[in-house]
């Protein structure tokens, strides 16, 4: 069978969904399970969509396997993640080597290596989500080991329950140093961390009062960082009654966290963030659309993996409201392209390039993390994004597991320039590109027929400059 039987991309979408269209969505339909039938087949486009959103992308070979596997098994495989002894061994070796170096840039490279090679893509994607949520920057936390420890903490809880993660992050030295909360005495409660717990981590603005922040700060008194380690200083803990969100008692930090997570707003806040990260860019999401996912969180005691499972199996996830409605973050774009091409390279240089594009892991811009969405795109970042893809495709420093790009495409029976362009678009771009752009790519491919590898390098570099490449 020749490649391709037909175009494997979705119709072109773009930009955030207008609010009025979001309001029109029926929540019961949206969160019902997506069913495969005659009108909606399980094809390469949907396999790639699942893996781009739940991970960073897959090779054409894996796409083919995903189609053969079917939706149920593919989704289950994404949720459970794979195990790979060689990856585990390499990661152990890298961590043992990078840790003692105590170099922040090595930590970034180590994480990029994980993203690139982990068989449990969802775990790493979720870790990146929580890193943006509990934003902490190595620019301020100058001890790289603390950042490495926090990264491991987030990974350990990324698909677990939210409450223990929040309790641990409240004791995390990197977080407390970043939020200037290394001391919190009963005579002068430090409100920094309490404010972020309410505003950025759990509830969102409008769901608490200034008094609640002051009372929560009292619950965290005695929570200190001494010599870069967390300690509870009982002498400095305020043992008196506090009134947190209407509940009164001699609460400590852990008890206060339970009260916060008991608020309706907490589940809705986390659910909204998960929808924005895994489904589509939107500034506001209608409450009725968020409600079923929030209910799922409450029902499961804030189980993150089951919330994500609901997302990945939903009608909404495979609908026009989701596909092509998200701008790829720099990390998603770079790691995704490398994974699709089965490539690797200098991860220190990649980190520098991601910095130019506004998303250097371990260096979020502020306590709010990365805003994402349209903020990823401006004239400067677009140039840098296109340059990165050009560099990845054409640099001698890029290592292809299949030897080179010609080796990568070999075995798919891709013949002729038009098929070549279609194949590349299918695996690198989520949505259809205009015919004029496609014609330009075919012309470019035709002008380099004699050198297959060079032809592929240049067409991939050109695809990286298409607007459609940057949405998913």
């Amino acid at each position: 069978m020749k490649y391709p039987p037909k175009t494997n991309r979705f119709a072109r979408r773009g930009g955030p969904i207008p609010n009025d269209r979001l309001n029109e969505i029926d929540p019961s339909w949206a969160w019902a399970q997506f069913e495969i039938n005659d009108s909606q087949e399980w094809n390469a486009a949907r396999v790639n969509h699942l893996h781009r959103r739940a991970g960073f992308g897959i090779t054409p070979q894996q796409t083919r396997q995903g189609v053969e596997l079917g939706m149920e098994k593919s989704t289950q495989a994404v949720l459970e993640g794979g195990s790979d002894e060689s990856f585990a061994r390499e990661t152990r070796i890298l961590a043992n080597a990078v840790g003692p170096r105590r170099a922040a840039e090595a930590n970034v490279a180590l994480w990029l290596h994980r993203m690139l090679h982990t068989p449990h893509q969802l775990l790493e994607k979720a870790t990146l989500f929580w890193h943006g949520h509990f934003a902490t920057s190595a620019a301020k936390v100058t001890n790289p080991k603390l950042m490495l420890d926090q990264n491991e903490l987030l990974r350990n809880h990324a698909l677990g329950k939210f409450e223990p993660m929040l309790q641990e992050i409240s004791r995390d030295p990197a977080m407390l140093i970043y939020l200037d909360s290394t001391t919190n005495r009963k005579t002068h409660p430090n409100e920094n961390y309490a404010r972020e717990v309410m505003e950025l981590f759990c509830l969102g603005i409008g769901n608490y009062t200034e008094k609640d922040i002051q009372e929560l700060a009292r619950c965290f008194t005695g929570w200190e960082v001494m010599r870069e380690k967390f300690r509870f200083n009982a002498n400095q803990h305020d043992t008196g009654d506090k009134n947190v969100l209407g509940q009164v008692g001699p609460f400590d930090g852990d008890e206060a966290i339970k009260i916060i997570l008991g608020q309706d707003a907490a589940a809705e806040f986390i659910a909204s963030k998960l929808i924005r990260y895994f489904m589509f860019d939107a500034i506001q999401i209608p409450t009725q659309l968020v409600a079923p996912l929030a209910a799922q969180l409450r029902r499961t005691d804030f189980e993150i993996d089951s919330a994500i499972e609901l997302i990945l199996r939903s009608n909404l996830f495979y609908s026009d409201h989701c596909i092509g409605r998200k701008i790829r973050s720099p990390v998603e774009m770079a790691i995704g392209t490398m994974r699709t091409l089965n490539a690797s390279g200098n991860l220190y240089e990649l980190a520098n390039s991601l910095n130019e594009q506004g998303q250097r892991p371990l260096y979020p811009p502020n306590v709010k993390g990365w805003d994402g969405g349209k903020d990823w795109i401006n004239s400067s970042t677009m140039l840098s994004r296109a340059n990165l893809i050009h560099q990845l495709a054409t640099s001698d420093g890029t290592k292809f597991k299949d030897g080179d790009l010609a080796g990568w495409i070999e075995g798919f029976r891709v013949r002729g320039t038009e098929q070549t362009v279609e194949f590349l678009l299918d695996h690198l771009v989520a949505v259809e590109v205009p015919s004029t752009a496609k014609d330009g790519l075919v012309e470019l491919a035709n002008s380099h027929r004699r050198d297959r590898n060079r032809q592929l390098q240049l067409v991939i570099a050109a695809i990286g400059a298409l607007p459609e490449f940057h949405i998913m």
Binding site: R101, A106, H113, Y348
Partner: protein, 602 residues
Amino acid sequence: MTRLTPPTFSLTSRLALFTITATTLFAFTAISEVTASPFEGSGTAASTSRAQDAAELLPPSTVAFAKVERLDQLVDLILNHPMREKVESLDVVQAGLESDEFTQFQAGLQLAEFRIGMKWHEALSTVSAGGIHVALDAETEGVVLLAGTNDEAALAKLIKDATDFVQGLDRDAQPFETHEYRGYTAYKADQAVAAQVGPWLLISNQPDLAKSIVDRYEDGGSNLTDNERFQEGTSQLSDNSAGWAWVDVAVIRDSGMASELFTNRSENIAVEFLFGGIQEALKDTDYAAFEFDMDESGLGLALSTPFRSDWIEPPREFFFGMDAGGVAPAPLEPQDMIFTASTYRDIGSLWLSKEDLFEENHIAELSQADSNLSTLFAGVDFGEEVLGAAEPGFQIVVTRQNYDHLETPVPAIKVPAFALVFELKEPKEVQRTFKVAYQSIIGFVNIGLGQEGQPQLEFNTEDLNGSRIVAATYFADPDEDEGRINYNFSPSIAFVDDNFVLSSTVELARELTELIQSDTYGEATKANSALMLDGDALAEILGDNREQLIAQNMLEDGNDYEEAGNTIDTLLSLVQMFEQFSADLAVEGDQLKLHARLSVDQ
């Protein structure tokens, strides 16, 4: 089957290819035509004035000249060296040998060998008796290559074969321009020319230079051998060097070329420390002569240049000492030594002359450093009383560490131990100052470590055969299992007789103390500076950090563990092939001489 596709060439690249091809085919042809009569073939003119040496063909304005005397022996040595087998067994070399590019190269080579009926290296070995010469002429700003043969007919055939071969690569392109000059045919592309002039293959980027060589070949006349500096420089050469070079420093200096080499002031204290005296000598010296030799045990290099102690102006006396009589201290060679360097330098004098030695913008920085360091050294003047307390002469020693004794976890990254050793003028008077400064520095370090929650350093004092060692060692949390890089260090000082030792570890401080105390220590070298790098020890320290290097390679080069492991093992194998590198700089009579030797595993 591998298919060869003829590439296309520009005129310039074609001449370059011609040059390469000609040099290679020259060897083949010379052998295959050994029975041909001299001066047969095109471009050979009857002549009465015939230079026997390339230098006799070169203009007196030549400023640099290099000659490889016995290319045949060098090629044989390289091809038959025991290291070749080891190099070829490396994975990376094996991969190269199995690559398509190498297969294509071999196919082309076999074609050429078939034409002459002989292996290329045999041919090259046989015909390189005339030597290869390269010269730079100041007047024409031209470079010329002269290759000599004892078979002119073979050379003529070679040139014909080479031009036919290169032009055959692209039949649509324009052929070389040919020009005749005094009966000789020159092939020209852009400004570059190639021609046969009697037994010489001449290639130059300046036609005027090429013509002057033809004129000198035909008519004789003044030439490079008339230059007294050339005569003097070549008289310094030994009889058995494999190659040598001569540079007319006086002309280069007077012409204003490379002016930064001849300045009075430096921009960098390290550059001044290492090369200041040599720079000063270059301001007066006339020439520099360089020679090298190779044998199975390695490569030797020597550089000599005229030298007089009164050329060295007072600010730079710190480098050679009074009457250029300063010699480096006796080198210390502890166990597992990786590197040692010993040098004569009056560092106190250098520091106090900083206003005369450095550019204006650096003087302010050095003055600020002077002030800060004086504070650290309990308020005493850093230049006069600290640096000035040291006798001229320093040595640095680097060794591989043994971690068996450590009470802390073994560090994951293994850093070599290193130490600085120098003699004190008045040991009893300055011991306290040095000790206070050491304690202050360790105190500052401890504050910084404490702020970061890292293990602290603890002072210990010990007596070793009457010498005092003060060490600061880490004490770790008993539950800690992290191999921090810090645990490579136990910064120490030792006062041994008149010597001061500043060491990164107490173990090295102890070992150096015992070496200095031993009866055999003390006789200074005859050199101004000497250094030695031990290849085996270097390979061992790299091997100690193999996992680290693999990890770094994975993150920097995108290799997986296995690929990265192979790359690092290749690096280690290469380093292991080098036994030792040594070099010394010495004033010998009226010459300043630099000797260097790279010894390889046989």
